[in-house]
Symmetry: C2
Subunit: 357 residues, 2 copies
């Protein structure tokens, strides 16, 4: 995963490039823009990543694979993650064409490209390597509370929905805390986080019985790398499709504390509008209730995703979240993440003081 030669990605997002629709592409552009030579999406051809996303600088968006190849990529990255993980036939053809021309293929889909004869044969022909970021380790077992012995402080992001900022919050915290000189590890649990950080396990792709085991292994590994482990959350405890992964991750990683992520403009689960999102204070309480039987863990801060609000509305939403929950809140992408970092640091130092008292 840690490529020895520099990787230059052409990101495939045709028909899907946008702030809320191409999560893998966007995280790669935000956290490692130097590795992206271009994005393929005919709908936005001629614009830049910055034009479309609001970040990413002058990375060009192109209309065709040929135009993209002219930018000199060493690899193509599947920049979208459709629900269910199936791969449309035109994408299979495109990926096979790229692999046949020697470009490595990186994918975070459930559908493993290296198991697809069309793409695998093309890669063999072109001398290309296929990186299936979601392929789990072969030797996972069940979780058994092994993380209870680690000294590191484990912080898990949880959320009111999917695709709401659980990974982004941790990456913003990682960068800002490292800039402060803190020894933090980011434990990636999804294909995009793995792509950005270079290690991790896609917990949603393991055998269901082993979700907790994957979370436990990640947390133990993170505890060797940092004094504070920022575990990337997944899904939501109220999500009708993904709650199993969310709970397995919670009970396998056994966080000492949680940061709750929410998008103020969202009032129901995306694409599952029959599930309203409860008030923030209720969500805080529910998270603490379901964690408590294994290891009591408070929610210590709120991370808001206000990308679709005016500055004034964003600041009002942050103030409202603080008022409703009694916890520090901010949008760690749009504003200084200091309120979240201060909450985590104070919690960590409180734990250490208790441990040595």
């Amino acid at each position: 995963m840690n490529a020895d030669r520099p990787v230059r990605f052409l990101v495939l997002a045709d028909g899907h490039f946008g702030p809320m629709s191409s999560k893998t592409a966007n995280a790669c552009i935000r956290y490692s823009p130097e590795r992206v030579v271009g994005v393929w999406d005919a709908a936005h051809a001629g614009r830049t990543a910055e034009d479309v996303l609001g970040f990413g600088g002058g990375i060009p968006v192109v209309a065709t694979l040929e135009e993209g190849l002219a930018l000199g990529p060493t690899a193509v990255l599947v920049g979208i993650a459709p629900a269910g993980g199936q791969l449309p036939q035109p994408w299979r053809d495109t990926l096979a064409a790229a692999a046949r021309r020697g470009l490595d293929v990186w994918s975070g889909l459930h559908y493993f490209l290296s198991d697809d004869p069309l793409i695998a044969d093309a890669a063999a022909e072109g001398g290309a390597t296929i990186h299936d970021l979601r392929r789990p380790p072969a030797d996972l077992g069940v979780s058994a509370g092994r993380v209870r012995g680690v000294d590191a402080t484990v912080i898990l992001t949880v959320g009111s929905d999917c695709n709401i900022g659980k990974m982004t919050t941790q990456l913003q915290l990682r960068d800002a805390m490292r800039a402060r000189g803190q020894r933090v590890a980011f434990a990636a649990t999804g294909q995009t986080g793995i792509l950005v950080e270079g290690w991790g396990i896609g917990v949603d792709a393991v055998v269901a019985d082993f979700i907790g085991g994957a979370a436990e292994r990640l947390t133990l590994e993170g505890a060797e790398k940092g004094d504070i482990v920022l575990v990337e959350g997944q899904g939501s405890i109220i999500h009708p499709s993904y709650s199993g992964v969310t709970y397995g991750l919670l009970h396998g990683s056994l966080p000492h504390a949680m940061v709750l992520c929410h998008q103020p403009s969202r009032t129901a689960i995306a694409k599952q509008e029959w599930v309203p999102i409860p008030p923030l204070a209720d969500l805080v309480r529910l998270h603490e209730q379901v964690a408590a039987p294994l290891r009591p863990a408070p929610v210590i801060a709120i991370a808001l995703n206000t990308f679709d609000l005016s500055d004034e509305d964003a600041r009002a939403a942050i103030a409202a979240a603080e008022r409703e929950t009694g916890l520090p809140a901010t949008d760690p992408v749009r504003y200084d993440p200091a309120p979240l970092i201060d909450a985590i640091t104070a919690f960590h130092e409180g734990r250490r003081a208790t441990a040595t008292a």
Copy 2:
């Protein structure tokens, strides 16, 4: 799975045959004893299933594979499910030997026997078929609340721990309710339930993202087969290893009501004693709280597993559970399951009355 020719199992449980240690073997013996010709466990050789389990009549326990083969089985059944699902080498050798002699092999392990070259080659040589009960359907997707549209009443068993009676309770209810003339379906979610009922999906063996999707499919299929769907629960919402599966099953099947299963003598999660089991009333409340954001569902009855208590102590435990929770309770194996059936039937009729009002 619905064998056309009658199956006669030799159950392999060497070293593990016992009331609490050979769940698959025991369920097969309890619910389809006519299909079991013998059990292999050298430690209990010369005794009967009834001697060891307290049920199963004269099914003999034998000391060696050869003795077992002399009983005329058509298949061997792996009667145990070790944590993590790995298969010890002596078992591989035994299964290969049986398959080479033409006996079909049935297994509910995570480790798929048909992917094991040693056993697969032996089966090919002997003309035997391998049934991996846990192999999931290839076309699962994520759950999306599709069960909300069904008329059938969905009842899920939940539990304070694993291996505590969630499947057994549903099977006892299935039989007793069918005897009353009620049209009920049993939706099997684990290898043993599938073995007994002939259909189902082992939800703990699917890709983690698809736990809910598997639960949803099962519930929809159950709703075609019965007016009341008895969904087999898995794990526990407080189990450090398996809670992800439990929640995925809960939020995928979206039960209308739950039956909480508990063993009064158990005060902590088995093999994870650092997790105490909360008081029953707290467990009832926690289940209702985590179900509520998707579809409010009450716990309507308590099923106790009192196999290790005297009759007097069992009756006292049942009375205590009723007092603590305000709900009807019984041990549906040891005593008449009527209190549970009455609670489910009244709930079902209440739903129907509301729907037609």
